[in-house]
Symmetry: C2
Subunit: 273 residues, 2 copies
């Protein structure tokens, strides 16, 4: 059954945003809508324009007989910054302050608006990189990894601090926890990451970078490749960080227990380059 262009726009939009970073052939749509490839091409041109104008993302067109389209979610810089400023505001609410100067952020990492924004921003940052898997460490990194993986349309893997029987054979590495200078252990199920995978590492919070450095070592053990490291928030750290090449969405620049203020600004991802 043939349907109208306006109806096809609904279907195609839904299909594309549910299959990000996936090459879809013109033939697929042509067959689905019993229409000529040329008319599918026109439809996709309209969608491309709207996605661009609305800041939804980039609809990349691959010409030729084997051609098709690929939807790459891509926030505009201004939209990303606007969202991160809103999240910075949430994070700087004074009632988040915990004894010892810790900041409560678990609720934010379960909040649909925040998770969508984090996922979109990090996925935009790596939109033109080839990534096979997102890696994080349990527990608070998981929602971040999942949201990024959703927009990149790749799987994510969870590193744990203990090995469980349900994980099967594991590989473990030791690392130096930056904040306490203790030796700790992290494990990853052997079958969760293929050799040669290109891996993006994400986590919720970074101080000394010890945990992130541990994941870097783990990636080497798997003979995989580290593509990048992005954290939701970084805190102030007096001393040398174990990792220097990373992006942060937020920077908790000051925590003052006396005045009960938390100062949060956009992280280095938003630095002008």
């Amino acid at each position: 059954m043939k349907i109208k262009r306006s109806e096809r726009m609904i279907d195609m939009t839904y299909y594309l945003i549910n299959h990000p970073h996936e090459m879809i052939s013109l033939a697929f749509f042509a067959e689905k809508y019993h229409s000529a490839k040329s008319s599918m091409s026109e439809d996709l041109g309209i969608i491309k324009k709207r996605f661009d104008e609305e800041g939804i993302g980039d609809l990349q067109t691959i010409p030729g007989a084997a051609g098709g389209v690929k939807f790459v979610p891509q926030l505009k810089d201004g939209d990303a910054l606007r969202k991160i400023k809103r999240i910075a505001e949430m994070l700087s609410e004074s009632n988040r302050l915990l004894p010892g100067g810790y900041v409560y952020l678990s609720d934010l990492l379960g909040h649909p608006y925040v998770l969508k924004a984090i996922g979109q921003i990090i996925a935009s940052r790596y939109a033109d990189k080839e990534i096979d898997a997102v890696m994080t460490i349990a527990t608070k990194g998981v929602p971040i990894a999942q949201s990024v993986a959703y927009y990149l349309n790749v799987p994510f893997v969870i590193v744990r601090r203990d090995s469980k029987i349900t994980e099967g054979p594991t590989v473990s590495v030791n690392y130096v926890s930056g904040s306490s200078a203790r030796i700790e252990k992290m494990v990853l199920s052997k079958r969760s990451l293929r050799r040669g995978s290109r891996v993006l590492v994400v986590d919720d919070f970074m101080k000394g970078g010890g945990t992130l450095n541990g994941m870097k070592t783990l990636i080497e053990e798997f003979e995989a490749e580290l593509v990048g490291v992005t954290v939701f928030a970084e805190g102030k750290f007096n001393g040398e960080r174990q990792i220097t090449d990373y992006d942060s969405l937020l920077y908790v620049s000051d925590v003052d227990l006396k005045t009960k203020t938390i100062t949060v600004v956009p992280g280095n991802l938003f630095n002008e380059s």
Copy 2:
């Protein structure tokens, strides 16, 4: 600037699927597109029809001056069963078998296809229930909770087995772990759940139901209300389960270490009622 109907269809589709379970007024769209409410109404009628025909979900229309639309993701029963059968096949691969008859499933819970399907199926099951939060226990339940919460557009909360300094004040309960008949502890950050919240509990795997029963107790401690319990997979259990009112997406009906076979069938969610 006025844009054509076919272009509006793209925008509106994108907006609606990014705001599930949210009431959006006709006035919002009318203002955005500088158009009459009646013409927005027509647009939404077309979208409603396509969403229905394509099995994307239900676009509920609320009439009257304060009226609007609400997009409720809702898989058709046939689509849900088809997806779950494909996942059952993945889960019954013999190389998932671990010593002791455990089944490896961590990769599935990091797989975009599987997570979308789980989220859509469970969210469809509770489409007409009022839900304020999804609850799960770390670590493997987290991806399930997040995906369900995504489609219901509500936050999720993570119960932990240990209390961490970054969680602030917590409430803890003891529970009897069904498989080992040991007393264990679970904790939830006090500020993560408001009194009176209507809670949907999800988890990855159920045997005796002890963990789920623990979360039930925790919900009572928070003076919140349990709306339902859904697990990704349930295993065979000899004895009385601690919980009887639950849904499962999959039922691991047999694990045979000798022949190395795992038998997985659709769970009780798919029983004809």
